[in-house]
Symmetry: C2
Subunit: 554 residues, 2 copies
Amino acid sequence: MGKEPQKVQIIPLGGLGEIGKNMTVIQYEDDILLIDAGLMFPDEDMLGIDLVIPDITYLLENSDKVRGIVLTHGHEDHIGALPYVLKQIDVPVYGTRLTLGILEGRLKENNVDCGNLHAVMPGDIINAGCFSVGFIRVNHSIPDAVGLSIKTPLGMIVHTGDFKLDYTPIDGKMTDFKRFSDLGNKGVLLMMADSTNAEKEGHTSSERTVGIAFDKAFHNAKQRIIVATFSSNVHRIQQVIDTACRYKRKVAILGRSMVNVVNISLELGYIHAPEGTLIDIDEIGNYTGSQVVIITTGSQGEPMSALTRMAMSDHRKVNIVPGDTIIISATPIPGNEKLVSRTVDNLLKLGANVIYGRNEGIHVSGHASQEELKLMHNLVRPKFFMPVHGEYHHLVKHAKLARDLGMPKENIFIGENGQILEITKEKGALTGKVTAGRVLVDGLGVGDVGNIVLRDRRQLSQDGILIIVLTMNKQTGEVLSGPDIVSRGFVYVRESEALMDEARERVEQALERCQDSNITEWAAIKSNVRDALGRYLFEKTRRRPMILPIIMEV
Amino acid sequence: MGKEPQKVQIIPLGGLGEIGKNMTVIQYEDDILLIDAGLMFPDEDMLGIDLVIPDITYLLENSDKVRGIVLTHGHEDHIGALPYVLKQIDVPVYGTRLTLGILEGRLKENNVDCGNLHAVMPGDIINAGCFSVGFIRVNHSIPDAVGLSIKTPLGMIVHTGDFKLDYTPIDGKMTDFKRFSDLGNKGVLLMMADSTNAEKEGHTSSERTVGIAFDKAFHNAKQRIIVATFSSNVHRIQQVIDTACRYKRKVAILGRSMVNVVNISLELGYIHAPEGTLIDIDEIGNYTGSQVVIITTGSQGEPMSALTRMAMSDHRKVNIVPGDTIIISATPIPGNEKLVSRTVDNLLKLGANVIYGRNEGIHVSGHASQEELKLMHNLVRPKFFMPVHGEYHHLVKHAKLARDLGMPKENIFIGENGQILEITKEKGALTGKVTAGRVLVDGLGVGDVGNIVLRDRRQLSQDGILIIVLTMNKQTGEVLSGPDIVSRGFVYVRESEALMDEARERVEQALERCQDSNITEWAAIKSNVRDALGRYLFEKTRRRPMILPIIMEV
């Protein structure tokens, strides 16, 4: 290293400028620690894509340096890319028990070895290369979430993970204020903190307030109750079970991911249900409506989920009947509003009483609002600060909050994925860039759908395709059969015969012009056909379908 | 009619169970009055569709009975289908001056005759068949909005149109409480009322509160100000102009629809700007940033709009520079949240100060919240009530509000598009159905894209298409050339050569099996090829592209 000052590099590979696929590299000389490895759900314009994971080129190029992966909690946007990462890098993975329990399920589904997972408890410290990493309990919308203290040769780094401050958590285990405060007293070089709710004023409500709303809803319900929520919201599920017990109702769990998480949570002791409370979904017929609660998936109106199927009268095991009370215990994620509205409407049409929306107290966020962020900043009092986990406007708002608390502007860094933040003991700077970005997963294909394929899908989705096929004599260039035109997704052919007839004529004219001008190169013929037909169709329909000429030769 | 009791029929052809394409038929014997004729923007799953209009089969079948069309205001979801309707039905159209001014622009764009438009003033009464229709001033997010009193042989029908109650409207012209109250005193048979905000508690804020937020933003802005809002929000535009004048700034108007509406409004006197205030966008270079305001479109993050282009550094006339203040004076319509977030992020990255979101006071709704709805119900006190303009859950909430006010359940009707509400003087009932639904407009095509085309577009958008072409000898069935495989939107072929080679082999094997089994029918051969290839590709990729075999014969 010569005279160069020692430095720690922080390289976010995901989660900055976006909600999702959180992944951060901490590097000191030849030691790399990876924090989280999450996935993201595709934007609307990523047609046909199932999920998006971070580009890990940088990790693969430096795989001999990676000392370990530490996980903050078990949400998909923090662990969902691990099945892909661990296929390519074999390093120890550290997480709390519930986090690893959920992760193991994902790894098994993807046939990835689970041998190198190491369970930790909040309060534990592990070593990974030159780093020692402490796990600090935080509240979030999943139990067993942690923030991290990362001791580096240059000083302490604190990463909050996703967090909120809940003074009345369901399991009685609060965010470990003392630990954050102790770290602050000893001196923290850098803090990275959750920015998801940096635009929300005030304080995020306690999870316990949802229990009060549940109690009211259960009190009023005369018949069956169905609660839809995120399967990972274990405390929410616990509150449904607790309320059900108070109202002497049995609880059935429905939906693949809900059943998985509840089973893991029961096994590991994160959910408690008195003997005989939980029943199989097939047993609900043995009870009257007033004796039953069903907990299920579909709170986002996901097309294949249990609640959506019920709303469409298309579920094998549950028929919605008038008098059912349905509680949608979640807020629509941006982009899902219409799906949720449609589900609500379908349930209402079936005569159900549906409790949904922001005013009902049936959902709270898992992320810290502005007043909680201020408290965290005041506890940790870092020298440098980088807002993480958020779209750019969230990061900007969080940075402004730090400035308002008195932090110097030059100590705050709004980074982006792939951009290196270098810090010494004295100063920090955003410096170079490493490869970073998104890798699209479509079915079994990881990264084989890129911009060209997406562009084609977009064009196909808008105006469909016309295929023009003809067979030519290899020697003479004479057209032996065709041109035939086949269209898909353009117009319904039976109702547009005149248009298609005229289209065929335009193709024939273009071919004749080629012959007259002695144009014999296929590429040139195809391009002439494409242009002539494209112009005609646009003029007639104002649409631009993909036009694909195919010339066969015999 | 014999002994049958006299009845009025109300037939909504759009706007029930949805936000948009509002259109309602009022029929008494052989007289039909049509209220509004709006369009709707397509759902995400209507790929490639530009807009959606109501199915007017019922009107066309009864075109000799239609006595007139009355318009409540100039928003697209109330007038946007008229270019299509008036091409097929020639009847008088009645609306206020601004409504007709905007409509004329639309009709001209679509080459539809504007000869039969008749301007009315709030307070006027017109006759159409057996009906006489009064126009009642209401507040909304566009000036010159009206509700309707429709005198029928059986009694009075009141239609609120889209409305709110603004005690401090910008033009000083309040919702005409007295008129609604007078109608109530005389007795109203049926009320139809706007349900858009039936889920919102309290009272919608006055448009004037936005002016206060503007004043604060202008006070703080040191450089250029850009305000994005809906072009139809004429009062909002007036408030920007007024604030600009106070701060001695010139105002430039940008964006095609914004320029259109401002010109019409200036011409008709709905916008007032002191001499010299408005400048051409090309003149902004003559002023410093602190002397300029630009009013523009793009408040919904629409991809082709002026603000979105500026945010992408892709606008011909305006470059965003650090220090610019951008005010997004609108709330994202459900479904547009991500587009708006992206625009905000891009503007922030360019160094602009962006004022957006619900907490800034820079936008208010144009629709009545619950307390306003209650007042309207109390003024009009109708015998029967039908909530209109809203998704099903809005209608349900509005019906519940009416019940809570003491209206008997059997006098409240939650209808759906096409369903007939029949009322006599004594009672009402939802009876039969007429044809109703949605007609998709794609480019110049009206209704030529149906479910089959949409299904194809959906499949193409998800996994693309593979085309298999081969040439056969007509007599012998011998394959003369091919099979060639061409794919689009499936995988990027250069990176998946092995997959495509194997795919070709599977096709050849399928063809051989056909030959061996003497399968000579084309349909059978194609289906064999499709099945074999589809199975192989799904196994290898978990994708289901469209597979299109084409056999040419020579």
